[in-house]
Amino acid sequence: MDRSVNLLDVALGFGEHQVSDQSPLSGKVVVIEDCVETSGSFVLHQIMKRLLSPPSSSHSLIFLAFARPFSHYDRILRKLGCNLAAQKANNRLVFVDMLMMKCSDGEEDNVSAVAKLFREIQATVRKLRSVTDTNITVMVDDMSLLEISATNSHHVLDFLHYCHTLTSDSNCSLVILNHEDIYLSLERPAYLLQMVCLADVVIKAEPLASGLANDVHGQLTVLNKGISSNSRNKLQNFQFRIKENGIEYFYPGSRT
Protein backbone atom coordinates (compact mmCIF):
# COMPACT_ATOMS: atom_id res chain seq x y z
CA MET A 1 0.00 0.00 0.00
CA ASP A 2 2.64 2.52 0.97
CA ARG A 3 4.72 2.06 -2.19
CA SER A 4 1.80 2.43 -4.51
CA VAL A 5 0.91 5.81 -5.81
CA ASN A 6 -2.35 7.22 -4.57
CA LEU A 7 -4.66 9.81 -6.05
CA LEU A 8 -3.01 12.72 -4.27
CA ASP A 9 0.42 11.66 -5.52
CA VAL A 10 -0.91 11.49 -9.04
CA ALA A 11 -2.52 14.90 -8.70
CA LEU A 12 0.79 16.32 -7.53
CA GLY A 13 2.64 14.60 -10.36
CA PHE A 14 4.61 12.10 -8.31
CA GLY A 15 3.40 9.17 -10.35
CA GLU A 16 5.01 10.06 -13.65
CA HIS A 17 8.34 11.39 -12.51
CA GLN A 18 9.63 8.51 -10.49
CA VAL A 19 12.26 7.74 -13.10
CA SER A 20 14.05 11.04 -13.10
CA ASP A 21 15.61 12.59 -10.06
CA GLN A 22 13.80 15.87 -10.52
CA SER A 23 10.95 16.29 -8.12
CA PRO A 24 7.63 17.14 -9.76
CA LEU A 25 7.27 19.90 -7.21
CA SER A 26 10.61 21.58 -7.74
CA GLY A 27 10.28 25.26 -8.42
CA LYS A 28 6.64 25.17 -7.39
CA VAL A 29 4.59 26.55 -4.57
CA VAL A 30 1.98 24.26 -3.05
CA VAL A 31 -0.59 25.82 -0.76
CA ILE A 32 -2.80 23.60 1.35
CA GLU A 33 -5.94 25.35 2.57
CA ASP A 34 -7.81 23.69 5.35
CA CYS A 35 -10.40 24.51 7.97
CA VAL A 36 -11.23 23.53 11.50
CA GLU A 37 -13.66 20.78 10.46
CA THR A 38 -11.15 19.15 8.15
CA SER A 39 -7.51 19.50 8.98
CA GLY A 40 -5.15 19.37 6.05
CA SER A 41 -2.07 18.41 7.98
CA PHE A 42 -2.25 14.83 6.73
CA VAL A 43 -1.46 16.15 3.24
CA LEU A 44 1.66 17.70 4.68
CA HIS A 45 2.61 14.43 6.34
CA GLN A 46 2.09 12.53 3.16
CA ILE A 47 4.25 14.88 1.11
CA MET A 48 6.88 14.70 3.85
CA LYS A 49 6.91 10.96 3.66
CA ARG A 50 6.96 10.96 -0.13
CA LEU A 51 10.00 13.24 -0.10
CA LEU A 52 11.96 11.47 2.59
CA SER A 53 11.27 7.80 1.93
CA PRO A 54 13.86 5.74 0.00
CA PRO A 55 12.95 5.92 -3.71
CA SER A 56 13.63 9.65 -3.68
CA SER A 57 16.99 9.83 -1.97
CA SER A 58 17.83 13.16 -3.49
CA HIS A 59 15.41 15.22 -1.44
CA SER A 60 16.04 17.43 1.52
CA LEU A 61 13.43 19.06 3.63
CA ILE A 62 13.50 22.24 5.65
CA PHE A 63 10.58 22.17 8.01
CA LEU A 64 9.34 25.29 9.80
CA ALA A 65 7.14 24.11 12.64
CA PHE A 66 4.92 26.79 14.08
CA ALA A 67 2.19 24.42 15.19
CA ARG A 68 3.65 21.31 16.78
CA PRO A 69 6.87 20.04 18.34
CA PHE A 70 9.18 17.58 16.63
CA SER A 71 7.93 14.62 18.66
CA HIS A 72 4.48 14.99 17.12
CA TYR A 73 5.72 14.71 13.55
CA ASP A 74 8.11 11.97 14.54
CA ARG A 75 5.27 9.88 15.93
CA ILE A 76 3.01 10.37 12.93
CA LEU A 77 5.67 9.77 10.32
CA ARG A 78 6.79 6.65 12.16
CA LYS A 79 3.28 5.30 11.75
CA LEU A 80 3.55 6.04 8.05
CA GLY A 81 6.82 4.16 7.97
CA CYS A 82 9.38 6.92 7.97
CA ASN A 83 11.90 7.67 10.67
CA LEU A 84 12.31 11.40 11.06
CA ALA A 85 15.01 11.24 13.71
CA ALA A 86 17.21 9.22 11.38
CA GLN A 87 16.56 11.65 8.53
CA LYS A 88 17.46 14.49 10.83
CA ALA A 89 20.75 12.81 11.67
CA ASN A 90 21.36 12.29 7.94
CA ASN A 91 20.91 16.00 7.39
CA ARG A 92 18.06 15.35 5.02
CA LEU A 93 15.64 16.99 7.38
CA VAL A 94 16.31 20.36 8.90
CA PHE A 95 13.70 20.94 11.57
CA VAL A 96 13.27 24.54 12.64
CA ASP A 97 11.26 24.74 15.81
CA MET A 98 9.31 27.98 15.70
CA LEU A 99 7.04 27.22 18.65
CA MET A 100 9.01 29.53 20.86
CA MET A 101 9.09 32.34 18.34
CA LYS A 102 8.88 35.55 20.25
CA CYS A 103 6.41 38.15 19.14
CA SER A 104 7.76 41.56 19.73
CA ASP A 105 5.72 44.69 19.97
CA GLY A 106 7.84 46.92 17.83
CA GLU A 107 7.17 47.07 14.10
CA GLU A 108 10.87 47.23 13.32
CA ASP A 109 11.66 44.14 15.35
CA ASN A 110 8.94 42.26 13.59
CA VAL A 111 10.35 43.04 10.18
CA SER A 112 13.79 42.05 11.26
CA ALA A 113 12.47 38.84 12.85
CA VAL A 114 10.89 37.70 9.59
CA ALA A 115 13.92 38.83 7.62
CA LYS A 116 16.16 36.95 9.99
CA LEU A 117 14.07 33.83 9.59
CA PHE A 118 14.35 34.11 5.83
CA ARG A 119 18.11 34.61 5.97
CA GLU A 120 18.34 31.51 8.10
CA ILE A 121 16.40 29.49 5.56
CA GLN A 122 18.48 30.87 2.74
CA ALA A 123 21.70 29.97 4.53
CA THR A 124 20.40 26.44 5.10
CA VAL A 125 19.45 26.11 1.46
CA ARG A 126 22.90 27.22 0.38
CA LYS A 127 24.52 24.83 2.81
CA LEU A 128 22.46 21.91 1.57
CA ARG A 129 23.15 22.87 -2.02
CA SER A 130 26.87 23.01 -1.43
CA VAL A 131 26.92 19.40 -0.18
CA THR A 132 24.84 17.70 -2.83
CA ASP A 133 22.66 18.74 -5.68
CA THR A 134 19.42 17.80 -4.03
CA ASN A 135 15.85 18.89 -4.45
CA ILE A 136 15.08 21.09 -1.50
CA THR A 137 11.61 21.57 -0.11
CA VAL A 138 10.69 24.22 2.40
CA MET A 139 7.62 23.28 4.38
CA VAL A 140 5.64 25.55 6.69
CA ASP A 141 3.15 24.25 9.25
CA ASP A 142 1.35 26.53 9.33
CA MET A 143 1.62 29.98 7.85
CA SER A 144 -1.48 31.42 9.49
CA LEU A 145 0.16 31.08 12.89
CA LEU A 146 2.97 33.29 11.68
CA GLU A 147 0.43 35.68 10.25
CA ILE A 148 -1.45 35.89 13.52
CA SER A 149 1.66 36.55 15.55
CA ALA A 150 2.97 39.19 13.20
CA THR A 151 1.70 42.67 13.84
CA ASN A 152 1.27 43.33 10.16
CA SER A 153 0.34 40.72 7.61
CA HIS A 154 2.44 42.62 5.06
CA HIS A 155 5.58 41.31 6.71
CA VAL A 156 4.36 37.77 6.27
CA LEU A 157 3.60 38.49 2.63
CA ASP A 158 7.10 39.89 2.24
CA PHE A 159 8.41 36.73 3.82
CA LEU A 160 6.33 34.68 1.40
CA HIS A 161 7.66 36.69 -1.49
CA TYR A 162 11.21 36.01 -0.43
CA CYS A 163 10.44 32.33 -0.01
CA HIS A 164 9.05 32.46 -3.53
CA THR A 165 12.38 33.78 -4.79
CA LEU A 166 13.93 30.57 -3.48
CA THR A 167 11.75 28.59 -5.86
CA SER A 168 13.04 30.42 -8.90
CA ASP A 169 16.59 31.03 -7.73
CA SER A 170 17.43 27.68 -6.21
CA ASN A 171 14.61 25.61 -7.70
CA CYS A 172 13.32 24.79 -4.24
CA SER A 173 9.75 23.83 -3.67
CA LEU A 174 7.58 25.47 -1.11
CA VAL A 175 4.76 23.65 0.67
CA ILE A 176 2.61 25.78 2.92
CA LEU A 177 -0.27 24.82 5.13
CA ASN A 178 -2.75 27.56 5.84
CA HIS A 179 -6.01 27.80 7.72
CA GLU A 180 -8.64 29.35 5.63
CA ASP A 181 -11.44 29.94 8.09
CA ILE A 182 -9.54 32.57 10.03
CA TYR A 183 -9.95 34.89 7.07
CA LEU A 184 -13.35 33.90 5.80
CA SER A 185 -15.17 36.62 7.66
CA LEU A 186 -13.11 39.26 5.90
CA GLU A 187 -14.63 40.66 2.78
CA ARG A 188 -11.31 40.85 1.00
CA PRO A 189 -8.85 38.52 2.67
CA ALA A 190 -5.80 39.96 0.94
CA TYR A 191 -3.37 37.73 2.73
CA LEU A 192 -5.18 34.55 1.78
CA LEU A 193 -5.74 35.66 -1.80
CA GLN A 194 -2.14 36.71 -2.20
CA MET A 195 -1.08 33.29 -1.04
CA VAL A 196 -3.37 31.60 -3.55
CA CYS A 197 -2.04 33.89 -6.26
CA LEU A 198 1.51 32.83 -5.52
CA ALA A 199 0.64 29.15 -5.52
CA ASP A 200 1.18 26.82 -8.43
CA VAL A 201 -0.87 24.09 -6.82
CA VAL A 202 -3.73 24.77 -4.44
CA ILE A 203 -5.01 21.87 -2.36
CA LYS A 204 -8.19 22.51 -0.49
CA ALA A 205 -9.32 20.20 2.28
CA GLU A 206 -12.94 20.57 3.28
CA PRO A 207 -15.71 18.53 4.83
CA LEU A 208 -18.30 16.91 2.65
CA ALA A 209 -21.02 19.32 1.66
CA SER A 210 -23.61 16.72 2.55
CA GLY A 211 -22.49 16.62 6.15
CA LEU A 212 -20.62 14.14 8.28
CA ALA A 213 -20.18 10.62 7.08
CA ASN A 214 -18.81 7.60 8.82
CA ASP A 215 -16.51 6.31 6.16
CA VAL A 216 -15.64 9.51 4.28
CA HIS A 217 -13.76 12.11 6.24
CA GLY A 218 -13.69 14.88 3.72
CA GLN A 219 -12.78 15.89 0.22
CA LEU A 220 -9.68 17.30 -1.41
CA THR A 221 -9.70 19.60 -4.39
CA VAL A 222 -6.40 19.97 -6.20
CA LEU A 223 -5.99 22.78 -8.67
CA ASN A 224 -2.87 22.95 -10.82
CA LYS A 225 -2.61 26.53 -11.97
CA GLY A 226 1.10 27.12 -12.26
CA ILE A 227 2.38 28.44 -15.53
CA SER A 228 5.19 25.89 -15.70
CA SER A 229 3.19 22.86 -14.72
CA ASN A 230 2.56 19.95 -17.04
CA SER A 231 -1.04 19.47 -16.15
CA ARG A 232 -1.85 23.14 -16.24
CA ASN A 233 -5.35 24.30 -15.36
CA LYS A 234 -6.40 20.87 -14.19
CA LEU A 235 -8.82 20.56 -11.34
CA GLN A 236 -9.28 17.28 -9.52
CA ASN A 237 -11.61 16.38 -6.74
CA PHE A 238 -11.58 13.28 -4.59
CA GLN A 239 -12.53 12.12 -1.15
CA PHE A 240 -10.47 10.63 1.60
CA ARG A 241 -10.70 8.56 4.71
CA ILE A 242 -8.07 8.86 7.40
CA LYS A 243 -6.95 5.52 8.74
CA GLU A 244 -4.58 4.55 11.48
CA ASN A 245 -1.54 4.07 9.24
CA GLY A 246 -2.36 6.07 6.22
CA ILE A 247 -4.96 7.74 4.13
CA GLU A 248 -7.27 6.20 1.61
CA TYR A 249 -8.20 8.33 -1.40
CA PHE A 250 -11.01 7.59 -3.78
CA TYR A 251 -13.18 9.31 -6.30
CA PRO A 252 -16.68 10.20 -5.10
CA GLY A 253 -18.91 7.19 -5.30
CA SER A 254 -16.17 4.76 -6.33
CA ARG A 255 -15.41 3.33 -2.93
CA THR A 256 -16.03 -0.39 -2.57
Binding site: T165, L193, V196
Partner: protein, 375 residues
Amino acid sequence: MADSIFRKLRDGGEEGELAPALTIEETVASPFALDVSCYLLANLSSSILAGKSKSEGLVLITFSRSPSFYLQFLKQKGIFVSSSSKWIRVLDCYTDPLGWIDQPSTGVTEGSSLVKLHKCVTDLKRLFSSIIDAGRVMVGDGKTRFTVAIDSVNELLRHSSMPLVSGLLTDLRSHEQVSSLFWSLNTDLHQEKVTNALEYISTMKANLEPLCPSSHGKRNALENLFLVHQDFGKGRFHVRFKLRKGRVRVMSEEYHVDQMGINFSPISSAESVIATTKSLLPKVHFNLQLSEKERVEKEKVVLPFEHQDHGKSTEIYDGRRTLADGKTEATPLLSSGELQTDAVSSGKGGEIIYFRDSDDEHPDSDEDPDDDLDI
Protein backbone atom coordinates in the same frame (compact mmCIF):
# COMPACT_ATOMS: atom_id res chain seq x y z
CA MET B 1 -8.52 42.36 -30.64
CA ALA B 2 -5.59 41.40 -28.47
CA ASP B 3 -3.79 42.38 -31.65
CA SER B 4 -5.22 45.85 -31.50
CA ILE B 5 -3.91 46.36 -27.97
CA PHE B 6 -0.54 45.25 -29.15
CA ARG B 7 -0.69 47.62 -32.11
CA LYS B 8 -1.64 50.55 -29.88
CA LEU B 9 1.28 49.79 -27.58
CA ARG B 10 3.64 49.31 -30.49
CA ASP B 11 2.69 52.55 -32.17
CA GLY B 12 2.86 54.56 -28.98
CA GLY B 13 1.47 58.03 -28.54
CA GLU B 14 1.91 61.13 -30.63
CA GLU B 15 4.54 63.58 -29.65
CA GLY B 16 3.38 65.86 -26.86
CA GLU B 17 0.64 63.64 -25.58
CA LEU B 18 0.64 61.06 -22.83
CA ALA B 19 1.89 57.64 -23.75
CA PRO B 20 -0.85 55.01 -24.15
CA ALA B 21 -1.11 52.84 -21.10
CA LEU B 22 -2.74 49.48 -20.59
CA THR B 23 -4.00 47.89 -17.38
CA ILE B 24 -4.34 44.13 -17.55
CA GLU B 25 -6.81 43.07 -14.91
CA GLU B 26 -6.98 39.58 -13.55
CA THR B 27 -8.81 38.00 -10.65
CA VAL B 28 -8.01 35.08 -8.42
CA ALA B 29 -10.34 32.93 -10.52
CA SER B 30 -8.65 33.94 -13.79
CA PRO B 31 -5.00 34.50 -12.92
CA PHE B 32 -3.74 34.84 -16.46
CA ALA B 33 -2.48 38.41 -16.59
CA LEU B 34 1.01 36.96 -16.69
CA ASP B 35 0.13 35.13 -19.88
CA VAL B 36 -1.25 38.29 -21.44
CA SER B 37 1.88 40.19 -20.39
CA CYS B 38 4.05 37.48 -21.90
CA TYR B 39 2.03 37.56 -25.10
CA LEU B 40 2.49 41.33 -25.37
CA LEU B 41 6.18 41.09 -24.44
CA ALA B 42 6.87 38.54 -27.13
CA ASN B 43 5.02 40.55 -29.77
CA LEU B 44 6.55 43.86 -28.77
CA SER B 45 10.02 42.36 -28.66
CA SER B 46 9.76 40.94 -32.12
CA SER B 47 8.40 44.17 -33.54
CA ILE B 48 11.19 46.15 -31.88
CA LEU B 49 13.73 43.73 -33.29
CA ALA B 50 12.18 43.99 -36.73
CA GLY B 51 12.28 47.77 -36.51
CA LYS B 52 8.52 48.03 -36.97
CA SER B 53 7.90 49.71 -33.68
CA LYS B 54 8.15 53.36 -32.85
CA SER B 55 10.00 52.53 -29.69
CA GLU B 56 13.46 51.07 -29.94
CA GLY B 57 13.78 49.44 -26.60
CA LEU B 58 11.91 47.74 -23.81
CA VAL B 59 12.36 48.19 -20.08
CA LEU B 60 10.81 45.37 -18.12
CA ILE B 61 10.29 45.81 -14.39
CA THR B 62 9.73 42.47 -12.74
CA PHE B 63 7.92 42.11 -9.45
CA SER B 64 6.25 38.75 -9.44
CA ARG B 65 8.63 36.58 -11.44
CA SER B 66 12.35 36.41 -11.70
CA PRO B 67 14.03 37.98 -14.74
CA SER B 68 15.28 34.57 -15.79
CA PHE B 69 11.67 33.44 -16.18
CA TYR B 70 11.02 36.14 -18.78
CA LEU B 71 14.32 35.60 -20.56
CA GLN B 72 13.53 31.90 -20.71
CA PHE B 73 10.08 32.66 -22.07
CA LEU B 74 11.44 34.93 -24.80
CA LYS B 75 13.94 32.24 -25.69
CA GLN B 76 11.11 29.76 -26.11
CA LYS B 77 9.47 32.17 -28.50
CA GLY B 78 12.65 32.28 -30.53
CA ILE B 79 13.85 35.65 -29.26
CA PHE B 80 17.35 35.29 -27.90
CA VAL B 81 18.46 37.79 -25.34
CA SER B 82 22.08 38.11 -24.40
CA SER B 83 23.94 40.62 -22.28
CA SER B 84 24.89 42.48 -25.42
CA SER B 85 21.28 42.94 -26.48
CA LYS B 86 20.76 46.62 -26.98
CA TRP B 87 16.98 46.60 -27.03
CA ILE B 88 15.95 45.20 -23.66
CA ARG B 89 16.75 45.98 -20.05
CA VAL B 90 15.29 44.24 -17.02
CA LEU B 91 14.94 45.96 -13.69
CA ASP B 92 14.77 43.21 -11.11
CA CYS B 93 12.48 44.16 -8.23
CA TYR B 94 11.70 40.51 -7.61
CA THR B 95 14.83 39.02 -6.17
CA ASP B 96 15.36 41.38 -3.30
CA PRO B 97 12.74 44.13 -3.12
CA LEU B 98 13.41 45.11 0.48
CA GLY B 99 17.12 44.53 0.78
CA TRP B 100 16.87 41.53 3.07
CA ILE B 101 19.64 39.67 1.30
CA ASP B 102 23.08 40.95 2.09
CA GLN B 103 25.06 39.61 -0.83
CA PRO B 104 23.94 40.17 -4.38
CA SER B 105 22.03 37.20 -5.67
CA THR B 106 23.99 34.68 -7.65
CA GLY B 107 20.86 33.37 -9.34
CA VAL B 108 21.03 35.60 -12.39
CA THR B 109 24.32 35.05 -14.10
CA GLU B 110 23.29 36.01 -17.57
CA GLY B 111 24.31 39.53 -18.41
CA SER B 112 24.73 41.84 -15.49
CA SER B 113 24.21 44.88 -17.68
CA LEU B 114 21.00 43.34 -18.91
CA VAL B 115 19.46 42.70 -15.52
CA LYS B 116 19.75 45.29 -12.85
CA LEU B 117 18.86 44.57 -9.27
CA HIS B 118 16.68 47.13 -7.57
CA LYS B 119 16.72 46.80 -3.82
CA CYS B 120 14.47 49.54 -2.59
CA VAL B 121 10.94 49.18 -3.88
CA THR B 122 9.44 51.48 -1.28
CA ASP B 123 11.22 54.50 -2.70
CA LEU B 124 9.22 55.19 -5.85
CA LYS B 125 11.23 58.27 -6.83
CA ARG B 126 14.32 56.14 -7.03
CA LEU B 127 12.42 53.48 -8.91
CA PHE B 128 11.30 56.07 -11.44
CA SER B 129 14.81 57.32 -12.04
CA SER B 130 16.08 53.75 -12.27
CA ILE B 131 13.53 52.98 -14.98
CA ILE B 132 14.39 56.11 -16.95
CA ASP B 133 18.11 55.46 -16.52
CA ALA B 134 17.70 51.90 -17.75
CA GLY B 135 15.89 53.23 -20.80
CA ARG B 136 18.46 55.90 -21.49
CA VAL B 137 21.34 53.46 -21.23
CA MET B 138 19.60 51.49 -23.93
CA VAL B 139 18.36 54.05 -26.44
CA GLY B 140 20.40 57.11 -25.55
CA ASP B 141 19.44 60.55 -24.43
CA GLY B 142 17.86 61.92 -27.55
CA LYS B 143 14.34 61.58 -28.80
CA THR B 144 14.44 57.85 -29.23
CA ARG B 145 11.72 56.23 -27.21
CA PHE B 146 11.21 53.01 -25.33
CA THR B 147 8.37 50.91 -23.95
CA VAL B 148 7.94 50.20 -20.26
CA ALA B 149 6.39 46.98 -18.96
CA ILE B 150 5.58 46.36 -15.31
CA ASP B 151 4.63 42.78 -14.61
CA SER B 152 2.54 43.40 -11.50
CA VAL B 153 1.63 46.56 -9.68
CA ASN B 154 0.19 44.56 -6.79
CA GLU B 155 3.58 44.33 -5.17
CA LEU B 156 4.07 48.05 -5.63
CA LEU B 157 0.70 48.77 -4.08
CA ARG B 158 1.57 46.60 -1.12
CA HIS B 159 4.65 48.64 -0.36
CA SER B 160 3.39 52.10 -1.17
CA SER B 161 0.10 53.90 -1.16
CA MET B 162 -2.15 54.23 -4.17
CA PRO B 163 -1.50 57.95 -4.85
CA LEU B 164 2.23 57.31 -4.96
CA VAL B 165 1.86 54.38 -7.34
CA SER B 166 -0.51 56.21 -9.66
CA GLY B 167 1.88 59.15 -9.47
CA LEU B 168 4.71 56.95 -10.63
CA LEU B 169 2.64 55.57 -13.50
CA THR B 170 1.54 59.04 -14.58
CA ASP B 171 5.13 60.29 -14.39
CA LEU B 172 6.19 57.42 -16.61
CA ARG B 173 3.40 58.13 -19.08
CA SER B 174 4.26 61.76 -19.34
CA HIS B 175 7.97 61.22 -19.78
CA GLU B 176 8.92 62.20 -23.29
CA GLN B 177 10.99 59.11 -23.92
CA VAL B 178 8.36 56.59 -22.89
CA SER B 179 6.39 55.54 -25.94
CA SER B 180 3.94 53.20 -24.22
CA LEU B 181 3.39 51.48 -20.92
CA PHE B 182 1.56 48.48 -19.56
CA TRP B 183 1.11 46.80 -16.20
CA SER B 184 -1.00 44.07 -14.72
CA LEU B 185 -3.14 44.13 -11.64
CA ASN B 186 -4.99 41.51 -9.64
CA THR B 187 -8.22 43.27 -8.76
CA ASP B 188 -9.16 40.89 -5.94
CA LEU B 189 -6.26 41.98 -3.80
CA HIS B 190 -7.14 45.64 -3.53
CA GLN B 191 -10.01 47.92 -2.81
CA GLU B 192 -12.23 48.80 -5.71
CA LYS B 193 -11.10 52.37 -5.51
CA VAL B 194 -7.54 51.37 -6.28
CA THR B 195 -8.64 49.37 -9.29
CA ASN B 196 -10.82 52.18 -10.57
CA ALA B 197 -8.07 54.74 -10.14
CA LEU B 198 -5.58 52.68 -12.09
CA GLU B 199 -8.16 52.02 -14.78
CA TYR B 200 -8.80 55.71 -14.99
CA ILE B 201 -5.21 56.67 -15.61
CA SER B 202 -4.82 54.12 -18.36
CA THR B 203 -6.04 54.48 -21.91
CA MET B 204 -6.81 50.80 -22.30
CA LYS B 205 -8.15 48.26 -19.90
CA ALA B 206 -8.05 44.55 -20.57
CA ASN B 207 -10.17 42.45 -18.29
CA LEU B 208 -9.97 38.67 -17.93
CA GLU B 209 -13.35 37.34 -16.96
CA PRO B 210 -13.58 33.71 -15.91
CA LEU B 211 -16.34 31.42 -17.10
CA CYS B 212 -17.70 30.83 -13.66
CA PRO B 213 -21.15 31.35 -12.38
CA SER B 214 -21.32 34.66 -10.67
CA SER B 215 -25.09 34.72 -10.44
CA HIS B 216 -24.93 34.15 -6.72
CA GLY B 217 -23.92 37.72 -6.22
CA LYS B 218 -20.65 38.78 -4.75
CA ARG B 219 -19.05 35.82 -3.17
CA ASN B 220 -15.64 35.23 -1.78
CA ALA B 221 -13.03 35.43 -4.51
CA LEU B 222 -11.51 32.21 -3.27
CA GLU B 223 -14.71 30.27 -3.65
CA ASN B 224 -14.87 31.50 -7.21
CA LEU B 225 -11.57 29.83 -7.91
CA PHE B 226 -12.98 26.42 -7.11
CA LEU B 227 -16.20 27.03 -9.01
CA VAL B 228 -14.58 27.35 -12.39
CA HIS B 229 -14.17 23.59 -12.78
CA GLN B 230 -13.01 22.30 -16.10
CA ASP B 231 -13.37 25.74 -17.59
CA PHE B 232 -10.41 27.05 -15.66
CA GLY B 233 -8.20 28.52 -18.30
CA LYS B 234 -11.04 29.72 -20.47
CA GLY B 235 -12.99 32.92 -20.33
CA ARG B 236 -13.81 36.24 -21.87
CA PHE B 237 -11.29 38.93 -22.61
CA HIS B 238 -12.85 42.38 -22.53
CA VAL B 239 -10.93 45.40 -23.70
CA ARG B 240 -11.96 48.99 -23.24
CA PHE B 241 -10.24 51.58 -25.37
CA LYS B 242 -10.45 55.25 -24.72
CA LEU B 243 -10.20 56.71 -28.17
CA ARG B 244 -8.49 59.97 -28.86
CA LYS B 245 -11.73 61.71 -29.73
CA GLY B 246 -13.08 60.91 -26.30
CA ARG B 247 -15.21 57.99 -27.34
CA VAL B 248 -14.98 54.67 -25.58
CA ARG B 249 -15.01 51.36 -27.40
CA VAL B 250 -15.46 48.02 -25.72
CA MET B 251 -14.58 44.79 -27.45
CA SER B 252 -14.76 41.21 -26.28
CA GLU B 253 -13.02 38.04 -27.22
CA GLU B 254 -12.56 34.58 -25.85
CA TYR B 255 -9.33 33.39 -24.38
CA HIS B 256 -7.99 29.96 -23.75
CA VAL B 257 -4.86 29.30 -21.75
CA ASP B 258 -2.82 26.13 -22.07
CA GLN B 259 0.78 25.08 -21.65
CA MET B 260 1.84 27.03 -24.71
CA GLY B 261 0.42 30.31 -23.50
CA ILE B 262 -2.72 32.28 -24.15
CA ASN B 263 -4.80 32.06 -27.33
CA PHE B 264 -7.50 34.46 -28.41
CA SER B 265 -10.47 33.65 -30.57
CA PRO B 266 -13.65 35.47 -31.50
CA ILE B 267 -16.60 34.72 -29.24
CA SER B 268 -18.09 31.57 -30.70
CA SER B 269 -21.65 31.14 -29.53
CA ALA B 270 -23.88 30.91 -26.53
CA GLU B 271 -22.18 27.65 -25.69
CA SER B 272 -19.86 29.32 -23.28
CA VAL B 273 -22.78 30.80 -21.40
CA ILE B 274 -24.34 27.41 -20.92
CA ALA B 275 -21.07 26.17 -19.59
CA THR B 276 -21.45 28.36 -16.57
CA THR B 277 -24.32 26.34 -15.20
CA LYS B 278 -22.71 22.95 -15.34
CA SER B 279 -20.66 21.96 -12.44
CA LEU B 280 -17.98 19.37 -11.94
CA LEU B 281 -17.99 19.35 -8.20
CA PRO B 282 -21.04 17.76 -6.74
CA LYS B 283 -21.36 20.01 -3.75
CA VAL B 284 -24.19 17.88 -2.50
CA HIS B 285 -25.06 14.58 -4.06
CA PHE B 286 -28.73 15.28 -3.95
CA ASN B 287 -30.35 18.38 -5.24
CA LEU B 288 -31.58 20.79 -2.63
CA GLN B 289 -32.30 23.74 -4.86
CA LEU B 290 -34.52 24.04 -7.88
CA SER B 291 -33.53 25.76 -11.04
CA GLU B 292 -35.85 28.42 -12.43
CA LYS B 293 -37.28 26.03 -15.00
CA GLU B 294 -37.87 23.33 -12.46
CA ARG B 295 -39.60 25.79 -10.18
CA VAL B 296 -41.99 26.98 -12.89
CA GLU B 297 -42.79 23.43 -13.81
CA LYS B 298 -43.39 22.48 -10.24
CA GLU B 299 -45.87 25.28 -9.86
CA LYS B 300 -47.82 24.01 -12.85
CA VAL B 301 -48.56 20.68 -11.24
CA VAL B 302 -52.09 20.59 -9.82
CA LEU B 303 -52.28 18.58 -6.69
CA PRO B 304 -55.28 16.22 -6.25
CA PHE B 305 -56.78 18.12 -3.35
CA GLU B 306 -56.76 21.41 -5.17
CA HIS B 307 -59.86 22.62 -6.99
CA GLN B 308 -59.49 22.16 -10.66
CA ASP B 309 -62.13 24.52 -11.89
CA HIS B 310 -59.80 26.88 -13.65
CA GLY B 311 -60.58 30.10 -11.94
CA LYS B 312 -64.31 29.58 -11.28
CA SER B 313 -65.21 30.25 -7.70
CA THR B 314 -66.27 27.19 -5.76
CA GLU B 315 -69.73 27.18 -4.32
CA ILE B 316 -71.53 24.71 -2.25
CA TYR B 317 -74.93 24.07 -3.70
CA ASP B 318 -77.61 24.96 -1.22
CA GLY B 319 -80.56 23.57 -3.08
CA ARG B 320 -81.73 26.88 -4.41
CA ARG B 321 -81.45 27.78 -7.97
CA THR B 322 -78.87 30.37 -8.74
CA LEU B 323 -78.52 32.23 -11.96
CA ALA B 324 -75.63 30.09 -13.11
CA ASP B 325 -77.38 26.90 -12.07
CA GLY B 326 -80.41 27.72 -14.03
CA LYS B 327 -78.38 27.85 -17.16
CA THR B 328 -76.18 24.85 -16.77
CA GLU B 329 -77.17 22.15 -14.39
CA ALA B 330 -80.60 23.06 -13.21
CA THR B 331 -82.52 20.25 -14.85
CA PRO B 332 -80.72 17.18 -13.56
CA LEU B 333 -80.48 18.58 -10.09
CA LEU B 334 -84.15 19.31 -9.82
CA SER B 335 -85.32 16.04 -11.32
CA SER B 336 -84.24 13.92 -8.41
CA GLY B 337 -83.42 14.38 -4.79
CA GLU B 338 -80.71 11.76 -4.80
CA LEU B 339 -77.03 12.04 -5.37
CA GLN B 340 -76.27 12.69 -8.96
CA THR B 341 -73.57 10.91 -10.87
CA ASP B 342 -74.23 12.78 -14.09
CA ALA B 343 -71.31 15.03 -13.55
CA VAL B 344 -68.96 12.05 -13.57
CA SER B 345 -70.54 10.35 -16.55
CA SER B 346 -70.58 13.56 -18.56
CA GLY B 347 -66.78 13.43 -18.47
CA LYS B 348 -66.15 16.50 -16.37
CA GLY B 349 -63.98 14.70 -13.87
CA GLY B 350 -64.53 14.28 -10.19
CA GLU B 351 -66.93 16.59 -8.40
CA ILE B 352 -68.49 16.62 -5.02
CA ILE B 353 -72.08 17.64 -4.98
CA TYR B 354 -73.80 18.38 -1.75
CA PHE B 355 -77.51 18.38 -1.23
CA ARG B 356 -79.15 20.02 1.64
CA ASP B 357 -81.81 18.08 3.43
CA SER B 358 -84.11 20.93 3.93
CA ASP B 359 -84.44 24.63 3.46
CA ASP B 360 -84.24 25.50 7.13
CA GLU B 361 -80.74 24.31 7.45
CA HIS B 362 -78.38 27.18 6.87
CA PRO B 363 -75.48 26.40 4.68
CA ASP B 364 -72.25 26.17 6.64
CA SER B 365 -73.94 26.99 9.88
CA ASP B 366 -71.84 27.29 12.96
CA GLU B 367 -74.35 25.42 15.05
CA ASP B 368 -73.39 22.15 16.59
CA PRO B 369 -75.58 19.65 14.74
CA ASP B 370 -75.57 17.33 17.73
CA ASP B 371 -76.57 19.79 20.39
CA ASP B 372 -80.04 18.24 20.69
CA LEU B 373 -78.61 14.87 21.64
CA ASP B 374 -79.27 13.83 25.17
CA ILE B 375 -76.27 11.97 26.42
